[in-house]
């Protein structure tokens, strides 16, 4: 009898949907980052070539970034999925995706046709870059939502 009353209260609680959306956003973001990291682990040279093609970082830093970014994405993603150290992991994901988006925007502005290397190597074309940019902007929004929520909710 007590159980059914609690269920009714939960159903009527308006915070329930917010918690659910917040939880789904966090787990989705985590999964995206785990996948992004995993696709880059197999071929670090291809990822290094992708980073270098943006012509933003000096060659001396390319290998360090190519080796450091995949574990960073995987660790952030795993922490987000598990729900451990959530705020730091969400901030990490936000910083990473904003950096990738700015790099892609700058490449488009400079007329470079590059493979973003976001989820492994792929086709190289301006249309593909624009699509990648739209996808990155969507992930930026999810990451911002997760970061903002991670400090206030327990989802």
């Amino acid at each position: 009898m007590r159980d059914s009353r609690s269920a009714v209260i939960l159903r009527k609680d308006p915070r329930r949907w917010r918690l659910l959306i917040s939880l789904m956003a966090r787990i989705s973001l985590g999964a995206i980052f785990i996948y992004a990291g995993a696709t880059k682990f197999g071929d670090p040279l291809a990822f290094a070539d992708s980073i270098a093609s943006f012509k933003i970082v000096p060659n001396a830093l390319v290998s360090l970034l190519a080796l450091g970014i995949p574990p960073f994405e995987t660790i952030c993603g795993s922490l987000l999925v598990i729900g451990l150290w959530r705020q730091v992991a969400a901030l990490g994901a936000l910083v990473a995706i904003v950096t990738f988006t700015v790099a892609l925007l700058s490449a488009l502005a400079r007329g470079l046709v590059v493979d973003c290397g976001c989820f492994g190597s792929g086709l190289v074309s301006v249309t593909r870059m624009r699509l990648d940019l739209v996808r990155d902007l969507a992930i930026v929004m999810i990451a911002a939502l997760v970061y903002a929520d991670s400090g206030t909710t327990r989802a």
Partner: protein, 178 residues
């Protein structure tokens, strides 16, 4: 209130730096166990190709055998035949002084640079007959260049062992145009 928020954000940034350092350490350790580790000093694809080609021409895995060498008569026919690609393996100053008409300069000395320069011609020459020559006599440049070409997948590569010396001594036409 604002101070507390700034302090909290500072803590988050410090933790993030720690996470980034940990990730880099993980990446470096994993890289050590790879069968082909990523070099810490990055080289562009062009630099890698140049390095590979330079190494290849120094010690090509394919060696030219006696059957893959030709004499002056066959070489003259090859020069007359437009399908055959004639390559001069001598350093560019010697090539510029004079070379076999129609020959292109793919020097042993600057193999990688010349290979990239001639890439458009070489890309379509995998199946074409190729003859390489150098100074003649005891020169090895033509054999090394021919060996490197065979290693790169060129199927019909021969060496004119008499080289430039025999061609010139026979009083045949000399070209000075590249």
């Amino acid at each position: 209130m604002a101070f507390a928020a700034a302090r909290e954000f500072g803590h988050q940034l410090a933790s993030l730096c720690l996470l980034a350092a940990l990730s880099l350490a993980c990446g470096l350790v994993l890289n050590r166990f790879r069968s082909a580790p990523l070099p810490l000093l990055y080289r562009t694809p062009e630099q890698r190709l140049e390095r590979q080609l330079s190494e290849l021409v120094k010690n090509p895995p394919f060696r030219i055998t006696l059957e893959e060498t030709i004499g002056l008569g066959d070489f003259q026919r090859a020069v007359a035949d437009r399908r055959t690609l004639v390559l001069d393996a001598r350093p560019s100053p010697f090539y510029e002084e004079g070379h076999v008409p129609g020959a292109l300069n793919l020097s042993r000395e600057n193999f990688a640079r010349d290979f990239r320069r001639l890439q458009t011609v070489l890309r379509h020459a995998k199946e074409r007959p190729i003859v390489v020559y150098c100074s003649g006599g005891s020169c090895h440049d033509s054999k090394l260049v021919a060996g490197a070409l065979l290693s790169l997948g060129f199927t019909s590569v021969k060496v004119f062992t008499g080289g430039w010396e025999e061609w010139k001594n026979a009083g045949l036409t000399v070209s000075r145009h590249p």
